[in-house]
Every structure is written in C-alpha cells, then in structure tokens.
Symmetry: C2
Subunit: 676 residues, 2 copies
C-alpha cells in the first residue's frame, strides 16, 4: 500500500507536471523544489498582513501599532509548524501527507476528519487565492473595480479549462514566477529598509487618513473586547501558514537524500515566508499604512469618511507605491508578480484536490470512479467539482477575501492538529520497541517537537474557532461534517456490498445446464443480421429470434421478409395487445426460466453505435431501457451486438487519440517514480 | 397506417381518460363529448373579450363602443371555421387532425409546418390559460395580487405532477365543471338581460372611470391608426377560436354515426361559444365596463389616474359583480367556474402535446423514444417538455395574459389555413374520379365551404401577423421555424441511418467462424464466479479470464485465490504499466481479432445490479466506460452478466408495479378502440 500511496502522494503536488519539465532530471533539486511547493505558502503574504491590519483597524488608529506583535506571534507559530513538519518528513518519506499520518496512527475516523478538512480547504484555497488575485488586478486595472467576482469566476473557469485539457506547468513554469515574486517582494522590502536607513522613506498615501474606531473601542482600546480583537487578527494572520504542509506530501519528488533535502527546503520556505510577512508588516507600520475592512466609512480624511468613491490598494500595493515613488513601474511589477503567484497557488489545489479524491476513492470513501487508475476521467470529475464549489463560494461572498478568510484556516489547523497528534503517537509506538540509545534520544527529541507543535496548533485551532466561528467558520465546519458523514456512508455501503458479494470459501463454479439464446428483432436490417450471425456462431443449445407484435402490419412484413431470405432461425412473434415492448419480452424470458430453471437465457440486442452525443438521444433508447430491466431478472445475460454507424469511426479515432495523450502523460509521471 | 393514427388520434384528446369514465360506455354520447372537447374553446371567453376591450381602450372611451362590432366579426369567423371543420370531420373520420390533413393532401413539409405550429400553440395554451386562471384567482383572493406568476407556475407544476402520476380525469370530471361554467356564464347573461329589460341593470363599478387615450388617438379616434387598432383588437378577439379544431381530432370517440354526431357537436360548440362571447361583450357595453391594459395610468377618476393601488377585475368578474349586486356569492361562483375551466383547458394541452409528439416520433421527426408504443416514459418526456416551456413563458412574461396572447393564435391560424388548403385539395382530388352526380354536388358544396374557410382564415392569419408580429408574434414564428428545422434534421438523420443499415437484397447471415470468449475479472467474488459459470455454460470455442495488472499485489492475490479454488479457466494477466484499464483490454481484443479476423470476440463483464439511483454513481462506472469503448470495435460482442444485489429486489418490484399500472391504463384505452 505504501508505495502506491507514495506514488500518488507525489503526484499530489507534482502530478503530471513533471512530464515536460525539460530540466533533464525528473527528481527535483532543492532550487526547483522550493518554488514548486512554495507558491501556496508564499502567496498568503498577499492577504495575511492585510487581514491583520483591517481587523485591528476596528479598534482605531492606535491599535494598528500592535500589528507587528501579532506578526511576530504568527512567525513563531510558523517556526513551530515548520519544525514539526520536518519530523513528518523524516518519519513518512513516502509523502502520504496528513491523511496517511492520521490514518495509520489514529485510525480511519481521524483520517477521514483530516480528509474532510483538506477537501474543504482546497476549495477555499482556490476561492481565497483567486479572489485576492482579482483584488490585485483591480488595483492595477481600475476598470475591474466592482467586477472582482466576475473576474474571479472567469479566472477559475480558465484554470479549470487548462487543467481539464491536461495542460500542466513544468517545474520551470513554477520556478520563474515564484522566484520573481520572492525577488520582487524581498527586493522591495530591502529597498524600503535602505530608504528608511537613509531617512528618505516616504509615508504611504494612506498615512494622512485617520481610522474610525468601532463601537466598543471608541473610548480607547483595551479590555476583553480588545483582547478578542487581537486574537481575531492573529487568527486571520495565520492564513500565512497554509501551504506549509505541501512539502511533506512531496518528499518522493526530491533528489536523494530525499528526507534531508525536503526538510532543508521546508526550513528555507519557512524562513522566506517569515521574512516576507515580518518585512511587510514592519514597513506598513513605519510607513503608516491605513487599511480598513470598509474604507468608505472607516477611513477619515480630516474627520470626514472618504466615501464610496475611494479605492483601497492592498498593503503590498501601498508599500510599492510609496517605496517606488520615483519608479512607478515598480508598483505594477509587484501587483503582477503577486497576481501570478496567487493564481499558481490556486492551481496547486487543482492538482491536489483530485489526487486526494482519488486516494479517498481507493479507500472506498468516495465513488470508485474518482480513483485514478490512470484514468483521465477521474481527474476531470475532481477538477469540475472543485471549480464548481470554488465558484459558488466566490459568487456567494462576492470575491471578498476578508469574508472568505473567515472560513479558511479552520481546515488547515484541524489537519495540523490531528497530524501532530498522530506523530506523537507514532514516536510513542516506535519508542516501545526501539532499543538503540541514540535512536531513542532522536525519537524523544522528535516527539517533543511534535508535542510542542500539537500544543501550538491546538491552541491556534481553538483561537480560530472562538474568534471566527460566528463570522463564517461554522460554514466550513458544517461542510466538513457533511463531507465526513457522506464519505462514511459511502464506505459503509461499499462494505455492505462487498460482504454480499464475497464468495464463500468453498464456492465453486455452479454451471447452468444449458444456454437458451434469443435475438431481439424489430426490423431486418444489417444490425439484426449481424446479431443473428453472431448468436448463431456461438452455437447455443437453443436459438430463436423474437419480435414483439406491436403493429400487426409491420410484424407481418417482417415475417414475410424473414421467410423470403430463408433465415435458418425460427422467428417467434410475441403478442402485445397493449403496444408494450418491455413486458412481453420480460414475460417470455421469465417463462423460459420457469420451464427450465437450470438454464440461463442469453438475450442478444442489436445496437447502433453512433459518434455524436446527440445521436444517443435518437437511438437505442428502448434497447437501453429493456436491457436495464432484463438485468434485474436472475439467470439472464444481455449481449450487445454493436453495429458501427459511419459517424462512430470519427468518434473512435477521437477517443483513441485522447487516450494516447493521457497515456503519454501517465508514462511521464511513471518514469519519474520508476527512477526513485 | 390510418387505423394506428386514428387510435393515437383519439387518444389525443381522450387519451387514458376513458379508462375510468364509469359511464358504462367507452364511446361518447354527444352530451359527454361536448364538455370533453369544449373546455379549450369555451375557456377563451374568459380572456378574449378582455383583450378586445383593452386594445380598443388605447383609443379612449369612445372607441369601446366599437367592441360589439369586433365581437360580431369574431363570431362570423367562428361560424365559418366551424362550418369548415364540419367538412374535415366528414372527410377524415379517423381523427388525424390538421397534421394528417396537411400531410396527406399537401405533403410532408406542410404537415411538418402544421405540427410545429401546433406544438408551439400547445405550449401557449398552457401559458395563456393558466395565467388567465391566476388573474381570476387574484381577483377572488386579493392576497394573490402581485404573485400571479408564482401561482401560475405552481399550477403548472400541479398539472404536471397529476399527469405524470397518470391521474386522468374521467368524462364526468370534464362534464361537470364545463356544464357548470356554461350554466354560470349563460345564466348570468340571461339574468343580466332580464334586468336590462326591467330597467334594473346597474352599471359596472368601472363605469365611473374615464379612459385616457394614447398618443395618436388623443384628438379623437379615426384614420389609419384607428383602423390598425381595430384590427389588433380583432386579432386578439380571435383567441376565442382556439380549441375549435379539437373535435376534429376526436371523431373516433363519438357514438355512431360518428361523423354526424361529431359535426353536430361541433356546431353546438360553435353556437354556445358565440352566444357567450356576444353576450359578454354586449353586457360589458351596456354596463359601461372600462378595461385597460395598464389601469393605473389609463383609467381616470375625475381626470386623475387611479394609480398603482387599483385592482382591475376581468370583464366577466365585473359583469358578475354588477349583475349579482345583491348576491355577492355569484361573483365567486363565476370566478371559480372560470378558473376551473381554464385549468381544464390547460390540461387538454397536457394530453394533446405528448400524443402529437408521439405521432411525430413515429414519423421520424422526433426522437423515437417519444413514440408511445404503450410506454409511459414517452408520455412523461412530453409532459415535462411542455411544462418546462410553458413555465418559462409564464415567468418571462410575468403571467400577463395580454402579452402572452400576442404570441398565441398565430399557430392556430397557420394550422387552420394549411388545413383548409389541404381540404380544398382533398375535394378537388376526389372530384377527379367521382362520377356520381349527388356526391359530386355534395363535394362541390364542401369544397366551396372549405375555400371560404381558407380565405377567411388566411385573411385572419395575415391580419394577426400584421398587427401582432412586432408585439411578440415573431417569437412564436421563430419558435416554429426552429422546431421545423430541428424536426426536418432529425428525419434526415434517421433516413441516412436507415439507408446505412438497410440489408442488401441478397444479404445472408455471414457466420463468423468461431467465438472467442473472455471474461473480465477484477476480484474473485460472486459476480465474477457467476460470469465465469455462465460463460463456460455457453461452451465457446475458446474461453479465458482476463485481468488487468494495475496493482501487482492485488493481482497476485487474485492469481493465488484463482489457483486455490482450482478454477478450470486460464487467467490471463494483462500488463498495464500506466495503471490504465481500458487500453490494455482494447488492445488485447484487437490483437485477437488481428490474429484470426474471422473470429468474433465475446467479452463478458460482471455487473452489479443495484436498486437506487445513487448506487449507480458508486458502481459499474468503469465497466460502463469500458463497454462503451468495446462497442466501437468491430467484431466484438459485449455481454453483461448481472449480479442482483439485495437492494435491486425492491426496485424490481417497484418497476413491475409501475408497469402493471401503465398496462392497465393502456388496456383501458385499448378496449375503447377495440370496440369501435
């Protein structure tokens, strides 16, 4: 099981991407692995600081000065989580991810909880990232203002189409924009700090605004309400942690020594991420950035609200405008780099969601057809489901990142917490049997780190639940619960069915004594002739053609033609005074079975094979219905004898071509895993 | 062909209704036939006078005095149409209706035109009748005001459900409300004329209002604009003629002498209809009823518009309020009787539409599965399509009868005109061979009547097109054109296919030399064992079991179990390095065919038969996909070997029960046609 899981696990984030890496190598060196896995984690710097600021803004201007403290706590949590996942990477180099860790160490219920949380979070990753990208686009292209939701849905449709068409990005396609983003943001920060050192750093445009405090904070910021607000700001800031677990799913894709390289990359990712968040928040403080949830009423110019006409840039945009005040292209570069990395982050979910779905389907928690087995269709279903739910969220929340983010993070921290619990169990279990002193010390150390991680993520989870539950997190929780119950129900159904179908230990083939074949005939055309010929070639014990006498005239014509052609098979005409087709045939088949219960009846149905979907509406419908009914009758087999119409040839070639392409994709992925 | 058409034709309006007539007779005496066929025609008195009035109102108060002249012309047209259809009834006692008349005499293009027009008009019958019923309901129950569209859609859904569940009205169910309606309206009219005679007839409530004339009519009513307006009023008034053709479709349901009885009933229907329309319009004139399209602005009280708060009762409602001023229950009785007859009129379309669809399907113009062949499902499709389009229209036009009526009537008059043209041709053709003098005179007389009918309906059609085209009739025309082209395309497709499939004159059975059987195996459970047993029982020339080696471990387990059980069939394991299922099997089958092209390959697929629709999502999906692909491969048969899961038994019983019910319905209908 583990190798298969590893194989799929690797595809979780690398997927078919690797096919066209053209990097000469299918296993990733750290310099490529970092950007491939980092887009999700790094992209959150585009909205996490904004959320900290706008939450604190509710308490007025002075509260904004707390923002850097909040950022430091977020960074601390990030460090702990990174340290914890470094242990995961060493313990589960197969890349099974949190689902595997929970499943193996805590049992299927924990595994399923993690899976539900992750599925919900994939959807939210798409919704939040694309909505945020739409905000950046609107701040660079004013015409988009007010149409963010439409733009976001179009972007989701675009990603969906690309993913459905199987266009996969190469490692380079990931690496270039991610490095550009890192260089842009860190470069901007360095330049900003430089100007600060030389005293030439200007204030942000928004520095002139005052911020109107909300009701409980009007008379100064303090007390319980303030504490709660800070916790909410912290919860939102923790959005910066999403995506950190990605590397732990991707260990098999690293160059050897895999675990060590993955752990190093993880540390690197954490450091860069922390550096970005801290830099952005610090600069925003220094440059006196104002940022409010509802700028029209909360931002005051000379004591008067700025009004609905005001467009508020994201914090990174405001920083860029200030720092690059003599280089206006800088702002557009920052906006573009941020927008691209957000879209890449969303694309990560488009890779991850179907693969997790496939793993769950393999374990019997989702319909079997979602299990890949190298099948393109399985992926398509996953992609479409993800896109549909993400679009639904975007439309329902009008692409407002602030409202969407209330639903986000819950899932991530549920999965963090359970996974860390699983890791503590893992080490405890290993310690029971391990006798080597050095190894035991190492395990004790790992267990301590994971226990700290568990405590930390657990506390954060509680804070997130407390501060966000009524703001929208309850929606995510309900969605998880529904998913959980649905998957459990599906698994129970599969179990019940497989119990029903299990062959008994000593069960042998129970041979029916004879096969009684009947060929259904409506007209005497080529498909019928073929069906008759094929049925005769099978040399059954008994063979007859059967037609239903719906229209006397028609069936007499048929009989005459039958005789004229001298077809050496008897034609049986079933009476149908009430113009039914299905019932007389069912009745006839049941009668045969009644007369000789040990016989089996084989019903041949001539079918037209057509090439266009709309042709299906025009053909074979009564055959299909009849077949459906016959299958319910015990002791009956139904044989479709296809007759290929001309239009079917083009369709056949089309399908062959599609399968060939899908096959190439898989072969590429397979080659990678074969090498390791 | 004719008997079948007659049989179906009769069902056009009687349909399965007859089953539960409980009238002792399945053939209808005139007193029952009249109400059964009349609801559609009579119900139009509920809205036709209103449309005349509101159109004339555009020219101000004085124009309303023209209304009775318009009504007399409508009555005249009605008389001519009735006289014409009496000829149809004698010439086509089979009840084929306008579609048959056009098809036989003018060819398939004319027939298809009539069919398109009728299909569109069935949809409009539902939309107009139900919308009008909603107006009446709102005038009796003020709380409904403003929610007419919602109420109308709910009524459509109700009718849909009743018709889908196969609840059919008996003749009595039709007769009672129709007679109540006739008695109510004619009784009210008689009472009104009585009071007029004694000088005690009060004015209508609206008599106090003035009517504001629209732009071109402000300075008096006259000139070209006025003429055009009168023509528009006349066009709308012609709505009273819809439904007259119904009896000509129902001739076979009459007691003998069928044609004579049908002709008499038709005349009776025409007379009652005319009496109603003329009475209502005359009383409305005498009682000074005011009725406007937009009462809020057009109706003036002391020179000031009455405003949005005013609710305008339909004309029949206003008459009832005035005539029964000392008997307020009278108003509710009139409103209820009118509402019920309108719903019955809509229900007529629910019977007629699927049957016409079935006739068109039989002739290859619509998908074959719409052809009844005693199948309930065929009817269900028709009912759902009708309800969907009618609801769409109701919502799009907000259940406003005045706007919907602009789309109506075009179809009826297209079909009238073409049908009368066909009848003229019919008599001309018969006259060519007829030698008997008396019969020739009769035919000449009939031809003259039909020619007058043709002229009259043709002129009305032109007027309707001229006055209503831009007001909405163009939508109906476009819909007809689209339907026409669609049906022509479907017929062309069927023709092409049947040409492809036609067996050549001397074509005999081309026997393949041998049957090579393979059984697809994924696990060794009961379904597989059954498939193996059945396949072996068929004693093929060659039999092997085939499994795809997607997961090495799984397939080794399978092999071990296979050997342990000592299954006497070789198990072939197909390599699939890329986790594909379909491709390796397709490849294997093609290889077999390549090696021995004269063999045919029979592929056995074990299938689970499940009872719930959602279980289909969980099972057999890859089998289905594989089957779909195999059918494209020449020389292959696909045999489904069903394994019935427990849940399938309940479903089997359910389906059996449903079929039994449907069968009873058909047996009832069949009995009726067998008697004639």
């Amino acid at each position: 099981m583990t190798p298969a899981l590893g194989d799929i696990g690797k595809r979780l984030l690398l997927g078919r991407k690797l096919r066209s890496t053209q990097l000469g190598e299918t296993l990733l060196p750290k310099r490529i692995a970092l950007p491939v896995f980092a887009s999700d984690a790094l992209s959150s710097v585009a909205y996490a600081p904004d959320e900290i600021f706008l939450t604190l803004s509710l308490a007025g201007l002075t509260a904004l000065t707390i923002s850097w403290k909040v950022a430091i706590v977020v960074a601390l949590v990030m460090l702990v989580v990174v340290a914890s996942y470094r242990q995961n990477v060493h313990a589960y180099p197969s890349g099974g991810g949190d689902y595997e860790v929970a499943n193996v160490n805590l049992g299927p219920t924990a595994g399923l909880t993690v899976a539900s949380a992750l599925l919900v979070d994939y959807v939210l990753t798409v919704a939040v990232s694309i909505s945020s990208a739409a905000q950046y686009a609107a701040s660079a292209i004013p015409a988009l203002e007010g149409h963010q939701a439409t733009a976001a849905v179009i972007a989701v449709l675009f990603l969906t189409t690309m993913n459905l068409r199987g266009v996969r990005e190469s490692g380079a396609a990931f690496a270039v924009p991610t490095y550009i983003f890192m260089v842009t943001i860190l470069g901007m920060a360095a330049f900003g700090f430089g100007r600060l050192l030389f005293g030439t750093l200007p204030n942000a445009e928004t520095a002139v605004f005052d911020v109107a405090a909300e009701e409980p904070f009007v008379h100064g910021a303090g007390g319980l309400a303030m504490g709660f607000l800070v916790l909410r700001a912290f919860s939102s800031g923790c959005a910066a942690l999403t995506g950190v677990e990605a590397i732990s799913n991707g260990v098999p894709a690293f160059k050897k020594p895999k675990s060590k390289n993955a752990a190093t990359t993880l540390l690197l990712l954490g450091c860069i991420s922390i550096a970005m968040v801290i830099s952005v928040v610090t600069l925003a403080n220094v440059m006196k950035v104002r940022f409010a949830e509802d700028p029209a009423t909360q931002l005051l110019r000379d004591g008067v609200p700025v009004g609905a006409g005001y467009h508020q840039d994201p914090i990174i945009g405001q920083l860029a405008k200030g720092i690059f005040d003599h280089f206006s292209l800088g702002f557009y570069l920052v906006a573009a780099a941020t927008g691209v990395i957000l879209v890449l982050a969303a694309n990560t979910a488009f890779n991850g969601f179907p693969v997790l779905g496939s793993i769950l389907a393999r374990d019997g928690y989702l319909p079997r057809q979602l299990h890949t087995r190298g099948d393109r269709l399985a992926f398509s279903n996953g992609i479409i489901i993800l896109a549909a739910f993400a679009s639904l969220l975007i439309v329902a929340f009008n692409a407002e990142v602030t409202r969407l983010i209330q639903l986000y993070i819950v899932g991530v921290f549920v999965s963090f917490t359970i996974s860390q619990t699983g890791m503590v169990r893992h080490w405890t279990r290993l310690l029971k049997t391990e006798t080597d002193g050095a190894k035991r010390r190492q395990m004790h150390r790992s267990r301590t780190i994971n226990a700290i991680g568990l405590t930390m993520t657990g506390v954060v989870l509680v804070i997130v639940l407390l501060t966000k539950f009524t703001h929208g997190a309850y929606i995510a929780i309900i969605a998880m619960a529904v998913l959980f119950l649905l998957m459990k129900g599906i698994r129970r159904h599969y179990n019940a069915v497989s119990k029903q179908m299990a062959a008994e230990g000593d069960e042998q083939l129970m041979l029916p004594s004879r096969v009684h074949s009947i060929v259904l005939v409506s007209k005497l055309h080529k498909p019928t002739l073929r069906a008759l010929a094929f049925a005769k070639a099978a040399r059954p014990y008994m063979l007859e053609a059967v037609t239903v006498d719906v229209d006397r005239e028609e069936s007499e014509t048929l009989q005459a033609e039958w005789d004229a052609r001298g077809i050496p098979i008897p034609l049986k005409r079933l009476a149908s005074p009430y113009r039914e087709i299905t019932r007389p045939i069912l009745q006839y088949v049941r009668d045969i079975r009644r007369q000789s219960p040990r016989d089996v009846v084989m019903v041949y149905i001539p079918e037209y094979v057509v090439g266009h979907w709309w042709e299906h509406l025009l053909h074979n419908q009564s055959a299909l219905r009849l077949k459906g009914r016959l299958l319910f009758t015990p002791g009956v087999m139904v044989t479709s004898v296809p007759y290929q119409l001309i239009s079917s040839q083009a369709a056949e070639e089309r399908q062959d071509r599609e399968e060939r392409v899908a096959g190439q994709v898989r072969r590429g992925a397979r080659k990678a895993s074969g090498d390791r």
